[in-house]
Symmetry: C2
Subunit: 884 residues, 2 copies
């Protein structure tokens, strides 16, 4: 005979955690709590098999089920010292469904089952609370009518509202005992009218009605659709859990409360929570009474001496504390507990992992490992890396209590104060004069990069989290607010207005890139510090993780941040800075407008010492690291003159009439620069640029070697290849120049030559490319752009609509699109490794600092991820979690 | 004992075609010619195995080879009645390498081997031509010295030039017998000086030297690299062919000539060719003498009665004609034959498929099938589809003998005359006034499309074969010349200049898009007509091919061309025309600048009848066809106002101040429109646009059904999807509106809903998408752009450099990149079919009209290709060829 019923109660259970398929999540959880000796109100679970039987047998139950339920119910009555349906000493029960998860359309819970006109009087007598009894009764009829008898809930609500109005009550809590009794009566009439039958007064009929209702609701249309959408199998079925009701409002010896095993706000190891004597759980939530603290130290002192539970009910308190300890040991995490004391007897109704602040979460994890409660791995897994942002950047001091004058999207975290400027050149000028500046633009373009660099923060009126400003600012680690649409910028007046407020050029403002607020004046900010807990956790993560974590750098600041935040190396050095620094732009413009190699050489001769000096400074800071330097990547359109003044200037520098300059500009100007003449296409058109860059980096590495006896391991990254022949073309140049410099300096620099895989074709041809490449670095920003055929600068116009319509779930520019872009990454990794076992593979897109992406990179066996320096702790923890 | 030697000679051979691995291509070919009884100068081939033996045995020959060569040589001497090395009656031979193909670095041919100071005198006596003998001798020493003895060829050339100068000769042909003799002497001295050994006078030593040289050259570095680049196996080795020399200049009974088995210019079935009595083959080529015709009818009449070979040597002529017939039967193709008559004896030196004009090629194929010489399949294979262009478009009448004033790239075939205009609006205005206009622009952008449409031809000063102008013009079937860089356009003056010539607005010009020439004035053009031969061949192709061939259409002209050129259906109807027609642009601009659906509705209400009317006209023409209509695809930026006048106009239409219009324009203007808000992204943002379009097409199809009792099978193509959810979103709209229209009209229209696969992600997620899609249509233009990360508008700047450096072989925008884009097409096809067996799959990019691409599409099992109407015959033949 199949076992249909699994009982549970204090200290014993026939089921346990892990039996979710048989008992449902709730049933298994209650069984587990009982099994480890927690005082759970007793009950029993009807296994999921009954659901299968029922639907397979035309809606009939297994023949032996009735007897089994009767036996279990008798046990429950004995346990609780009360009888189901007995007005003198009534036992009430709840009936709950028990699938893998709660499903829309599935019957959830019927409470207080077992009441009828007689029993409700008994309950009132027993609890001494007429209103409570009547309230339970009318709620029960409503719930039963709606979920079991399938009566439109609106009928009950309408009738309830009328009665409330008659009694001058606004909320349910204002209802008197009489009003509740009247409501129960009206609800019974509704049931009669709607079903043609009187409300079932027989508690047994109620029970079997509810059990059948739960089981039938498994096949509700909404539940079926929900399962199909969420890939939940149809054939498991739902369990049904029947549990004794307990009440915290049965007089002075009764209590209801909530306890946390530790302080969820500070992380302190001390019980924390609230209770109310002689009350129901919902009273704590509803705020009718001010709840009281559990421990003395936190006592409000409002109701005299006996305010904390510690003092009010010391035995209960001690027992609760003991349970807290046991729960933490058993579940290995801080718990949030609902408890009820019924006439001196403590029951736990629910326990679940406690919600917590980021700081508390770190402290919990570190402390609990030190207490031996959890392993180092468990501690590391406990932290959500995505939550760490607020700890890694400066923030507006909450103590300042400042109110933002406008809000935008929190595009790049951190806080900064400075004077407002509206022009990138002004930003540079004022920052050179020692001022902190905040650059305010309608939107930004690559022409603004030098100004963004000079600024301590950036605000744009347009664009979203993936706009140019946002992406560049995150890359630079500058706080940034995008899409502050209430800000009206009048650039010709050098000012912006929000409502009545006008902020002029030079006015001080503060921005909070973490929260999205813009403040007038200088609001104090708090510097981030890696707390001891975070440092500890990250160091544990480092011991666990297999994935190396590198940083993307462009400036000296980035380089020192990379070291400070614990990088294992540098995954990407963008060399654009050397080219696009304002003092050098004219030289690069000459280079761009030159018609042949002869005309390009002089500009390159001037750039070589500048680039070498940049590399030397960087390599000094980064010595000992592997450092991947990307060859010149951006389209040179970015330096072309735009304004008349720039044309004049260029005309002078080139010694050509303005008209001639305009002609040359027109000849090199591109329609879609981002898909145009850039990346290694420049190297193939103008090999002399690559020669200059490679010479600069090898000379710099040699100089650092001679200065310190140690230098960087150079990794030269060729951007935007689509196949092996392109890569080989550039590799030949690199190898040749490297040999020349070695000859000249007598200094041997270890180096690798590899390629960015940032176009779909490179991913598909990865096997071939790997034959001559030493490493792959996935440029997932460009790869996402091309795989989706989507420009991140323009995606804001439709991505929001997409997310609202569930056409996409996540912004693919933030979290790697595993199904599409990720598949190409996987294909390229497999093909590359199959041709070259030694191939080093990493990812250097902005995605490298995203925890979900880091897990994916680990799962497909990459060697490293590379991210913005501030994101290093996030990536280090995510990498460790992926290893566990 | 292994057989090393394979002899061949008139009427017999030990080898045959198909023995290339053993005898090399040349050896097998000569054996084949001999075997079928052609009078080939006899010889023998040393099998490739000797090469393997030699390199495996430290450079020694198989022990039995010497005797085998001696035996074969003796047979040769007997055959020719001459003796190798005998000054009295010398036999000369050629020695050739014989790999799978000629390889750079491999020894090619040594002619006239067997000469020395004595033998050369004998040759002079025997031929009666001292100069010829000495010329052979000096050439032999030079060739032998360079290729066998590995002496720098420059030394011979330098010495030769000195002697030429001494004798006042400019070309080799000016050299006297004495000069040749002197050269031979000097060359022998060079050999002595460079090798330290005298030139080998012993013909046997010469022969073995040449055999060893050929075999050693197999492992030359250049040959090894060449094999590795071209995937030719290293281990097969080269054969060596030794063949008797024959001479056409041994007196009156000797002749040299070239014959075609049919007329290669007209295709006429009549022998055609030229000969010279008592001359050498190179005399025909060098043009020292005027060659004479083979047949009377074509006689020049220059040397009296006996001019044609027919009359000059009737027996030889009859024999030659007999051979022509035999050759055609054997090879199944028109042959180009080199022949020599040595003292009355006819030899064929070489036979190969004749080069031919396109017209002749068609005629050959059709005639030869009708004559029973080749099968229908062979006839179809015989035509190169890429050559048909000149037959499918109008061309400049060659009889007009016009000279182009400038040239550009032949970007879109065809010829047209009209008045020059420099502005798209002028183009429309003048074309409405009934003039043919030629639009001349520096380059074109989508803003010019309406003007391009109004023009009969387009010229741009910038851009290549894949520029916007070229692509659009090809799509529209307008002749176009791009990159006419000598044309200086002064748009503000409405004129252009080339050198001294100025062409002003309104001046007549003619352009030849097939050849690239621009002509002043109106040059007569010739309309294309599908010749009877082409029609026949295409009809045969239709019976053979499995791939359907559809057309891409945008206009009514396209639609009728599609029917005329034999489309099986329509693979792509671009609906942009309805939106971007000049008369409607303001409505679309209102639509684009609307802020919400309510503001969009009025514009859509105005567009619905226009679009319905467009569809109705089109569907009338196309009834009976499956017609795939693409939903609105281009970014709406294209209609935004640009000029102040347009802003004014828009401001009036919208009833908004210009400043407000500018703000709205700024808000919708995109940075990279092509990767932005376009394709189905528009449908998801503005479902009401899709509703309007779908309603228009179903109403139109219903109207045509009611009018004719027959209509089109609608295929609605959703552009630019990246995944299933996007597609499903649009499909729901289509199905709903289709049902609504069916309800309203009572007319059931058969339809499919499918998607363009034009982004890498769509290709990767094809399995999922196929679950709800009825068809896939590969948009290979967009797919190429994204797979390569390359904008075709900008690619000209570097693609030329790429091709010059062999970084790419073919322009991927013209011929599908099989390794990259093709792999995604293959992946998507496999994944799509595995989820949906009924899935209809085609390609509708510009590549659909490229023969190589058509073959690829057939090979991976697509259902159809779709191309510009004019390319239909090309695609139909290519599809048949792929099936064969």
């Amino acid at each position: 005979m199949e076992k249909w019923i699994y009982t549970f109660g204090e200290g014993a259970a026939e089921g346990s955690a892990g039996m979710e398929d048989l008992l449902g999540t709730k049933g298994a959880n209650l069984a587990e709590m009982s099994a480890i000796g927690l005082p759970v109100p007793p009950g029993f679970t009807i296994a999921t098999g009954v659901c299968g039987y029922y639907h397979g047998h035309d809606g009939s139950f297994p023949p032996d089920l009735e007897e089994a339920v009767a036996t279990a119910l008798a046990k429950l009555e004995a346990d609780r010292g009360a009888r189901f349906g007995d007005p003198a000493n009534p036992l009430l029960v709840s009936v709950r469904s028990g699938g893998a998860a709660s499903m829309p359309g599935m019957m959830d819970t019927v409470l207080n089952l077992g009441l009828n006109d007689d029993v409700v009087q008994g309950l009132a007598r027993k609890t001494g609370d007429q209103r409570f009894a009547c309230d339970c009764y009318r709620r029960f009829i409503h719930m039963y009518g709606e979920v079991v008898l399938d009566i439109d809930g609106f009928l009950f609500e309408e009738a309830g509202d009328e009665i409330k109005e008659d009694h001058g009550a606004v909320f349910d809590r204002d209802l008197s005992a009489e009003a509740c009794a009247e409501m129960a009566k009206r609800f019974r009439e509704i049931v009669k009218a709607e079903t043609g039958e009187p409300f079932p007064d027989d508690p047994q009929a109620q029970l079997w009605g509810a059990i059948g209702g739960v089981i039938r609701s498994w096949n509700n249309q909404r539940a079926v659709i929900y399962r199909s959408l969420h890939n939940i199998p149809d054939d498991i079925g739902t369990a049904v859990t029947v549990q004794a009701m307990v009440f915290g409002n049965r007089g002075a010896g009764s209590i209801t409360g909530v306890a946390f095993t530790r302080n969820p706000s500070t992380g302190e190891k001390a019980p924390y929570g609230e209770y109310l004597p002689n009350a129901q759980g919902e009273d704590v939530v509803a705020g009718l009474h001010t709840p009281l603290p559990l421990v003395e130290s936190a006592a409000h002192g409002e109701i005299g001496e006996a305010t904390a539970l510690e003092a009010h009910a010391p035995e209960v308190f001690d027992k609760l504390i003991g349970l807290c300890d046991r729960l933490e040991r058993h579940y290995g995490d801080v718990q949030d507990i609902e408890f009820t004391v019924e006439e001196g007897r403590l029951f736990l109704l629910q326990t679940r992992p406690a919600k917590r602040t980021v700081e508390a979460g770190l402290k919990f994890a570190v402390d609990m490992h030190r207490e031996g409660l959890i392993s180092r791995e468990q501690a590391v897994v406990r932290v959500n890396p995505d939550d760490l942002d607020s700890l890694l950047y400066p923030s507006v001091d909450p103590a300042a209590n400042a109110h933002p004058v406008a809000r935008g999207l929190p595009a790049s975290p951190g806080a900064a104060s400075g004077v407002a400027v509206f022009d990138p050149d002004d930003a540079i000028r004022r920052s050179r004069e020692g001022e902190d500046v905040i650059l305010i633009r309608k939107e930004t373009s690559p022409n603004d990069i030098h100004g963004m660099h000079a600024a301590v923060g950036i605000v744009t009126a347009r664009g979203g989290l993936t706009s140019h400003a946002a992406v560049v600012a995150r890359g630079m680690g500058r706080p940034c607010i995008c899409g502050a649409s209430s800000v009206r910028i009048a650039p010709e007046l050098d000012s912006f207005t929000v409502g009545d407020v006008t902020v002029k050029d030079g006015d001080e403002i503060t921005l909070d890139g973490t929260g999205g607020g813009i403040f007038l004046g200088r609001v104090p900010t708090v510097e981030p510090e890696l707390s001891e807990d975070l440092k500890t956790l990250v160091s544990w993560a480092d011991e666990i993780r297999h994935l190396a974590v590198r940083a993307n750098v462009e400036t000296m600041d980035d380089a020192s941040a990379a070291r400070r935040f614990g990088a294992d190396g540098i995954g990407l050095v963008a060399t654009e800075h050397t080219f696009f620094a304002p003092a050098r732009i004219m030289t690069v413009r000459e280079l761009t407008l030159a018609r042949n190699e002869r005309e390009r050489r002089p500009s390159l001769d001037r750039l070589l010492p500048l680039q070498r000096a940049d590399f030397t400074r960087l390599f000094r800071e980064l010595r000992g690291f592997p450092v991947a330097v990307r060859l010149l990547d951006p389209p040179l359109d970015e330096v072309l003159p735009e304004t008349d003044a720039e044309y004049e200037e260029t005309s002078e520098a080139l010694g050509l009439p303005v008209e001639a300059v305009r002609k040359r500009v027109a000849a090199v100007r591109q329609i879609v620069p981002v898909l145009g003449h850039r990346g290694c296409r420049l190297a193939i058109s103008y090999p002399e640029i690559t020669e200059m860059q490679v010479r600069a980096m090898f000379e710099a590495a040699s100089a650092v070697m001679q200065e310190f006896g140690e230098t960087v391991t150079l990794e030269i990254t060729v951007p935007l290849v689509v196949g092996k022949r392109e890569f080989d073309f550039v590799r030949v140049i690199v190898d040749r120049v490297a040999a020349e410099v070695e000859q000249e300096t007598g200094c041997t620099i270890a180096y690798r030559v590899g390629t960015l895989i940032e176009l779909p074709r490179a991913a598909l041809r990865a096997g071939e490319i790997a034959k001559t490449a030493d490493f792959f670095s996935f440029g997932t920003d460009d790869l996402t752009r091309t795989v989706f055929g989507m420009s991140r600068d323009d995606a804001d116009a439709f991505l929001t609509t997409y997310m609202n319509n569930s056409v996409v779930d996540l912004d693919p520019f933030v979290t790697l699109d595993i199904e599409g872009v990720g598949e190409l990454v996987r294909i390229a990794t497999e093909r590359g490794r199959s041709e070259n076992k030694e191939l080093l593979i990493g990812i250097c897109g902005e995605h490298g600092g995203d925890a979900k992406t880091v897990r994916f990179c680990h799962s497909i066996g990459l060697d490293y991820v590379s991210c913005a320096p501030n994101r290093l702790p996030v990536a280090r923890i995510a990498a460790a979690q992926a290893s566990i």
